[in-house]
Structure formats: structure tokens, C-alpha cells
Symmetry: C2
Subunit: 350 residues, 2 copies
């Protein structure tokens, strides 16, 4: 599917299915409302699927989109750029945190090279969809052309579509890219209107001096391009990254297929605000996996009106927070499938 | 084991194993500290096990201790007392939320009648360890004799010991008992020193008038008995419940066996403060599963110095919050077992 046909396929949540889920929750053997956020989540997922109970979100795949960033040259990260490719090799070999969490929760891991600078060796779970070997430095010009940004968005759309076609009932966002919290901060600022100082954080761990420099870099890029949130592709091209654009497409693809997409940290939430700018109804498909320690993630979640399931001070990326949240999503849906009603179990009501 | 031998077996966390876990976390392929609370948890569990990495917390069993409460006569709950026995039947039949969550996470469910009023029919996973058919009304006299409280504590100790002997590598607390948030509030107030108004909440859902009455009931019981936190068995006898006492023993039994015990909501946290009063070092074995919406649970967790893993507005009990948190505990430990080091994966450091 193209971006255009994908956007045309995205519809609002189904109200009758949501009403049915609310009504079913009241008949299950538990005090009304006692499952808190899980009850709201089950209602949202019924609305997305258009049926109550909605399907269990399994099998699930975490798609880790990897890219490099020209803005790395500005000294915004303490890590050498080749770590992006080294970590992709680690994902392919199964040695990273996201692999460990995926084995824990039964999710599959797929890695997509959408913009890594160094050519990568293959692997059964590595897809070569490289659009460009890293973005340009956004402080010197647009990070991407509109055509490159669109190509990356459509990589994400294609990956989502292929996974759903292969049977995935939940999609999870993952990312890898040294320096990618810098474009994420710029995207969050551009789409939500907060300043660079509010949207920018310490990423993988930088000192005060580097943080101030990073804020100045984001500010300079925003001033140079003055990205217009009404033109989301233009924003992605000006200050985005290839994995951010691909994740935007991945989220839109999930929404078009009416499959839940569990959102990880700040990279994915910056892509989620871009997706919402393309199609506000895509928010119905989004489940916020966790509250990243990165400030831009909190700004983006508030903008989307999403409450994260986990809040554990994590700031790793890779999709780790989405994979860790998956069993909670499944549990929320499983309640609607399996818990006995007061009537069936012979339990008195209050 | 008796209470006395159990208390004698509880030791502090092992410092060298904790240091080894901290050092290992720094060598794994992720930015230092990027797994937030999971890193601290992995260090604590290494300290409990006395080895790094500590064993994975599987298989796991949630033990649901059920009891009834004389204070129900004071009108503190809108639910009829027979719901305790009806819900036990629901647990045995596999129809409750805790069963659904346990199927999700692979935990076993065991139900222990330690104080249900109505005689129960058997089931493969139902243990008859009834000490007394419900407590006395604590506003009229002590809920239990010291001998009854001790017998219930030792039921919990025996269950923990038997499960560990059968191979359980994690124990999870569960509870069922209509009106049992009232003794839980009294226990939290007695052990932490907060007022009944601070420790008492809406339980399964009561209106303002009933809440004010419930606070007055807890206040009256505390004034009548003036329980002494230096005498934890006396506190459990005066204002406790049979499932609260059994959970206290269950937690102490886990600590003595150096097996992690994942704590559910307000009933279990009230038992956890009792366990800490018996043996302060038992806190090393405790993992707070979730932050219950019940205010006494938050007071108890702060008293114990524990941060919960989940905060989802849940207030169900049954062990639901402990079972839902189990995959996160496992993931935290699994990182130490499986994630590649920088050295082994050939990933550059910053």
C-alpha cells in the first residue's frame, strides 16, 4: 500500500464494540473498575478490532528499524556512529535486551535496515530496505528529501502489512540509531509546539554541557527549517530520521489493518505524533508501552492523550519497553475472553 | 518449620552477589542504567539468592489465602459474606481474573482455605488449612487469639516451604476475603503509625458514607486494642485476619528460603509490614508487584522502602497484581543471564 491508500483506510474506533466491552466488563466476576487501566485498554482494543472480545494480541512481532544520523557530526551523542551497525548485528545474533525480552514474552524480532550508514551482512531476520546510508545533518540542510522521507514511510507501511498478512495480531515498535533522540526531540517539538528545551533529553546518558549543546542543535534545526506540522512529510524530511519515518509508516500501517501497535520510547512516540498528524484516527491503534525517562516521550504521550502501561525509568529503546508491556496488553484482552461472569460462576453481586 | 525457626533462618542480602550484579550490568550491551528499575531489581534478587546471576523466578506459584471477617457485621462492605466461598469455587474452577492472568504468565494457582466461614468442597488445587471459620469482630474483642494467629502464620510458612520444596523459584501472594481491606487498614495503621483515615480506602468500591463509617470502625478497633507494633503476633491477633496472618507467614517462609515473593495489593502489603516487624531482613525477599489504588498499600510500601513495578489503578486483590508483574521480574533476571557483553558482541563503548 502507498501512504495515500493507507491513510484512506484508517477509520475511527467502533463505538458498538466499545459499548459491548464496557458492558461485558461489568458482568465479569470482579468489582466494577477493579482492573483500572486494563479495563480501558480492553475497551479501546475492542473499538479497534470492531468486535468484542477483540482478538488476543498474539503472535506479535517487534520491528526494529535502524538508521544513522548526519547530526551525529554535531557531537550530540558520546557513542561512535558504528555502534548502530554493531547493535544491528547484536539484534540479529539475539544478544540484545530486546531479544531477551522477546524470548520472555514470545514475540518475534525483525530488524529492518532503513538507513544504516555501514552496509550490513544479512541474517534470517534482517530486512534490507535501506533508503539512504544515513540522513544529512539537519543543522546544515534538510535531513532528507521529501522523496526519501516518503520512501522510508512506505518501508514501514510495507513491513506492517507483510507482518499482518503473515498472521501478526500485534505490532511492536523498535528502533536503533546512534544520535536518534536528537531528531526525535525535533519532531516532538515541531508537532506539539513545545520548545527544544522541553523536548530534548539526555538520550543514552550525556552530561549537562552536552545536553545544553544538544538543545542548541535542535533549536538551530527548528529555526532553520520552521517545519509546518500541517505538512507531516515535510517535518519528517526536514528534522526527522529514516527510522522515525519508517516507524511513522509502520504505525499507520497497523492502524489501517486495525491491529494494535505497542509504542516503545521517545523515538516511537515521536513517530506516533507524526502518524497522528497524518491521520488523527490512527491513535485508536496505539498502545503506549512505557513512559520513557526521555522528556520528549512524555510530551508526545500527553499530546496523543495516551497513558503508558509501564513506568520503570527505562530509556533503552530497541523496542524494549513495548515488548515488556506486551503481556499486560494480552492480559487485558484475555480477561474479556476467559473470566467467568457472575451469572455463570454463581457468585452473588453486591 | 515453626515461626521461631523461620525467623532464625532469615538473613540479610548478600553484598558480594549484589556487587557482582552491578558490575555485570555495566558490561552488558546497553547504556549504563538504561533499564531503570529492572537493574535495581536484578541487583536485589542477586543479593537474595547470594549468587549472580540469580535463578530465573520460574516456575512460580500464586498462593491465594482465603478467610472471612467478623467485622463484616459492622457493614464495612457492600458484598455478602458468602462471596468469599463463591469466589474460592471460582478460583478452583479457573474462572477468576487471577486464573486468567496465571495462564497468561505461566504461574500455578493454589488456593488455601485458612479461615473461610462456609465449609468448602475440595478441588485439586484447594488446600484445607482452616484455622477458624472466620475471625471475631475486632470492634467487640480481639479478632483472633494469639494461638489462632500463630496457627495461621504457620499455615503460610508451611505452604511456602512446601512450594519451594516442590521446585517453585518464585512465590506470589494472593488473597480472598470479603471485608478484608478493613483489617488490612488496621494492620497498616498499627505497624506504620498513620491514622485510620490515612490507611483506609474504598476497597471493592464503597460510597463516601460507608468509607467514613469504615474509618470509624478501624479507629474504634485501634483505640480498643492499642496494638503494639513491637509485638507483631499480638497486632495480627487483635486487628488482623486469618489470610493476613497466613500471608505474613508465607512471606517469612519465602525469605527464609531465599526465594523472591512478589507482593500483590493492600492485603499482602499489610502482611508484608507484619513480616518486616517480625524480621526486618525479610524485606530483601519482597518484590512489590503493583501500586494498589487502596491508600493503605502506598503507606505500607513507603514504610518498607519498596517501589512497585506496576501502577495501573488496579484494586482487585486475588494476587492479580503480583501475577501481572511476574514477567517483569523474570525479564529483569533474564537480562543478567542472556544479554551479550560489549566485549563478546564486538560493540564499541562510548
Amino acid at each position: 500500500m502507498t501512504l495515500e491508500t493507507t491513510l484512506a483506510a484508517i477509520r475511527p474506533a467502533d463505538e458498538p464494540a466499545m459499548a459491548a466491552a464496557r458492558e461485558l466488563q461489568l458482568r465479569l466476576t470482579k468489582p466494577a473498575g477493579s482492573l483500572g487501566a486494563l479495563e480501558e485498554l480492553s475497551v479501546r482494543l475492542a473499538g479497534l478490532a470492531g468486535v468484542c472480545p477483540p482478538p488476543l494480541p498474539e503472535p506479535a512481532t517487534v520491528a526494529v528499524f535502524a538508521g544513522d544520523h548526519g547530526v551525529h557530526a554535531q557531537g550530540v551523542s558520546p557513542w561512535p556512529q558504528e555502534v548502530t551497525a554493531q547493535m544491528v548485528a547484536n539484534f540479529v545474533a539475539g544478544g540484545a535486551v530486546v531479544n531477551t525480552f522477546a524470548r520472555q514474552t514470545g514475540a518475534d524480532v525483525m530488524v529492518i535496515d532503513v538507513g544504516v550508514k555501514i552496509p550490513l551482512h544479512g541474517g534470517a531476520n534482517l530486512l534490507d530496505a535501506n533508503v539512504r546510508r544515513g540522513t544529512r545533518d539537519m543543522t546544515a540542510g534538510p535531513a532528507l528529501t521529501r522523496e526519501e522521507a516518503l520512501a522510508a514511510v512506505e518501508v514501514g507501511i510495507r513491513v506492517a502489512g507483510a507482518l499482518v498478512e503473515q498472521g501478526a495480531k500485534a505490532l511492536l515498535t523498535g528502533d536503533m540509531g546512534i544520535a536518534n533522540t536528537t531528531p526525535a526531540a525535533a519532531l516532538v517539538a515541531a508537532f506539539t509546539g513545545v520548545s527544544a528545551g522541553v523536548a530534548t533529553g539526555r538520550g543514552t546518558g550525556i552530561d549537562d554541557e552536552t545536553l545544553n549543546h544538544k538543545i542548541a542543535v535542535v533549536t538551530a534545526a527548528l529555526e532553520r527549517h520552521a517545519p509546518d506540522p500541517a505538512d507531516p512529510l515535510g517535518v519528517l524530511a526536514a528534522v526527522g530520521g529514516l527510522e522515525h519515518a519508517a516507524l511513522t509508516g509502520f504505525i499507520l500501517g497497523a492502524a489501517a489493518a486495525r491491529v494494535p501497535v505497542v509504542i516503545d520510547g521517545v523515538i516511537a512516540t515521536s513517530a506516533a505524533v507524526a502518524a497522528a498528524a497524518f491521520a488523527p484516527d490512527s491513535v485508536a491503534a496505539m498502545v503506549a508501552g512505557h513512559r520513557s525517562a526521555e522528556p520528549g516521550a512524555g510530551v508526545a504521550l500527553a499530546h496523543l492523550g495516551l497513558e503508558p502501561l509501564l513506568d520503570l525509568g527505562m530509556r533503552l529503546g530497541e523496542g524494549s519497553g513495548a515488548v515488556l508491556a506486551l503481556p499486560i496488553v494480552t492480559a487485558a484482552v484475555r480477561v474479556l475472553h476467559e473470566v467467568a461472569t457472575f451469572d455463570a460462576a454463581g457468585v452473588s453481586e453486591k
